[in-house]
Amino acid sequence: MPCSESVLACPTLPAAWRSRARAALRALLALALLLAAGLAGAHKASDSYLQVTAAPGQLDVRWDIALRDLDVALDLDSDADGKLTWGEVRAAWPRIEAYALRRLAIEGCPLASVGRGLERRNDGAYAVLMLRSPCTLPAGAPRISYGLFADVDPTHRGIAKVQRAGQEVALSVLEPTAAMAAAASKPGSATERASGVASGIATSGSTALPSADARSRTTSAAGRWQFLLEGVRHILTGYDHVLFLLCLLLPSVMRRTPPGWQPVERLGQAVWPVVGIVSAFTVAHSITLGLAALKLVSLTPAFIEPAIAATIVLAALDNVLPIFPVRRVVVTFFFGLIHGFGFAGVLAELNLPRADFAWALLQFNLGLEVGQLVIVAVATSVLFGLRRWRGYPRIVIGAGSALAIAIGVAWLIERIGNVSILPL
């Protein structure tokens, strides 16, 4: 699956239930955007957009290319029905990257793909290529040779914004040169490797584009952190994990006393229980994530997904009415084991590289923890600020937990009965 190189734009949802929930939300957003795009439907000439960010030792390029232009060059619309589906675009992505990368050279900076995305602009959907080079852009105007679509649309232009650290953004318009495109259309030939030179820029001879092999090697090296980002993304958009964490955090700025909930005095009093709970959750889901990823233990999503919903219901219930005979840390640990299996489902879909499996797994897990820390830090700060509010026990803990219970129950029913209840 080409998604193995993805950072953000690939579907990474573990099971039909969850994906439907998110799909519903995204479908709504997409619909809104489509409507906006439909209203606009601007007719402008074909442009691609390059954002070049140059720092010492590292050059990043974000390159947005219109899908309808790519379709002319690469026939993305494989069933020729006039509609580009995600499946068609995803299947064509390696060809898109190969086509584009042969048509862009920045002097002294061999570019490798490190990520991808899709973007809706005023005049349609764009493929987003994330490129990187471990290089320092030479001083002076950057020598960019550009050959995109020279063979398809000579009126096409690349709009480049070059940002060097601490300087104004420099704008330039790149005209596709036929020489570069001609060289690029002969894959594997000597001219291709030398196309940076063939495009007529005066070079020191070092700007030859990497050959296909070299490029895929550098891709895996440069995309070194992509699974970290996958992990961050998964926890931030995994509403059930987030909801579970929030349930655990709601009472963390309060103490249970015989007359009822009392706010803690100092931040420290809230932080330590939070650290304990988060650590327990982390250790537990890391264990099951590892076990499942190594294929030592396997549990069907038909069990795991409803079980995750159940953990939300129980955790929220415990906020309102203590139901657990043991300390919350222990309960959190057990529930964390269940969530770990949920994460593992995503991991399986990510198609981790076999060679760097341990490394990728570690990254994904670290990403989860980073995302989790963000959520915990934000939520704890907000809750700590609210703790002295009179309504905190009743509204925040009470109503908040009740809401979580309701959502959890709905998810539970959805996931057991395979039906759709929530719009979200």
Partner: protein
Amino acid sequence: MVAASATLSIAAMRSLQGLAGALAAGLFLAGIAAPAGAAPITPTRDDEVIEVLPASAGNRGEDRDLRKRLAARPDDAKLATAVARRYLEQARESGDPRFAGLALAALRAWPDPNAAPDEVLLLRATLEQYLHEFDAAVAHLRLLLARPGSERQSQAWLTLATVLRVQGRYAESDAACRQVAGAEIYQAACLAENAALRGETAAARRSFETMLAARGLPVSTRGWLTTSLAELEERDGRAGAADAAYRRVLKLGPDTYAAIAYADFLIAQRRPAEALTVLKDEARTDTVVLRLAIAGTLARSAAAPRDVAEMRERITLANERPEASVFHGREQAMFALVVERDPERALALARGDVARQREPLDLLVLAQAAHASGRREAIEEARRLKASIGLHDRRIDALL
């Protein structure tokens, strides 16, 4: 733009964008680093449609087949011109300039115009006309027409006459019109059009009316002849006759050119609400949205803010290419003048525009901007330009 910040690596920005999902759920409020006017798409299913491609002129498979055949034999002139003509038609129908680019690409086997076959050269010039590269179009047409035996190239003469007319070179246009042979009506209409522009109004009107009296005239021919007549009456200050002629054209069937011209007439007559009605079924090309924005602003219509915002966005996007404000100078000047109420900017844009094209509307916009700016030297400049071309237009006289 946050995205331009050098302190954030692009990968980090993408992870920020990953937050968008969380944002959608209302969990966080954080800045998202995305280009202005762009929104990330995060598809969830393989069958999710993320882009609808523009309609094909015919069959999409046929398009692709033609493209493939051309890729195999790029120097097959017959095939190349067939593909280019197909794209040109699409460009004209949809107002989408990308198709003109695709058409030019189909002709890429002949980078040297001297070596290009006649039909390739003609098509290239026609595309240049479409892309407002008038000087290049004239040069290529003259090259073609200097070839032996080319005096029978009526289409090339007619195109040359049109381009020269757009440039305000009426005498040269006349000479080209006279070379148009074959269908007599084209030569007559070509000459009558120039006569009307020069102010030989009575003769031109008679000429158009004679042509229109012919029986069995194709509807499209009747349409453009009547449009020419309407424009003649409008320039001559006969609003009633112009109005009637425009209405006759639009009764013949949908006609985008005539609808826009009539809308401009109605706007000038301070009947903006009617202009909105005339345009309501037109595809939202840049030229149409511009008129909707102008008429909507004047009529204070409910849709005006949307159309204005959209036009402004389109202009901003187009201007990411520096040459765009020259390309679309006329439209941008109209927008600046009426909607943005910025006569200085309108004047600068209109000056850039008339350096390239000099149709009556271009000069009218220059005169309006000059008038609004109150600059004596700008008014004088517009008056001199009008005189040097020899254009007769009472709308402009009223302003200068």
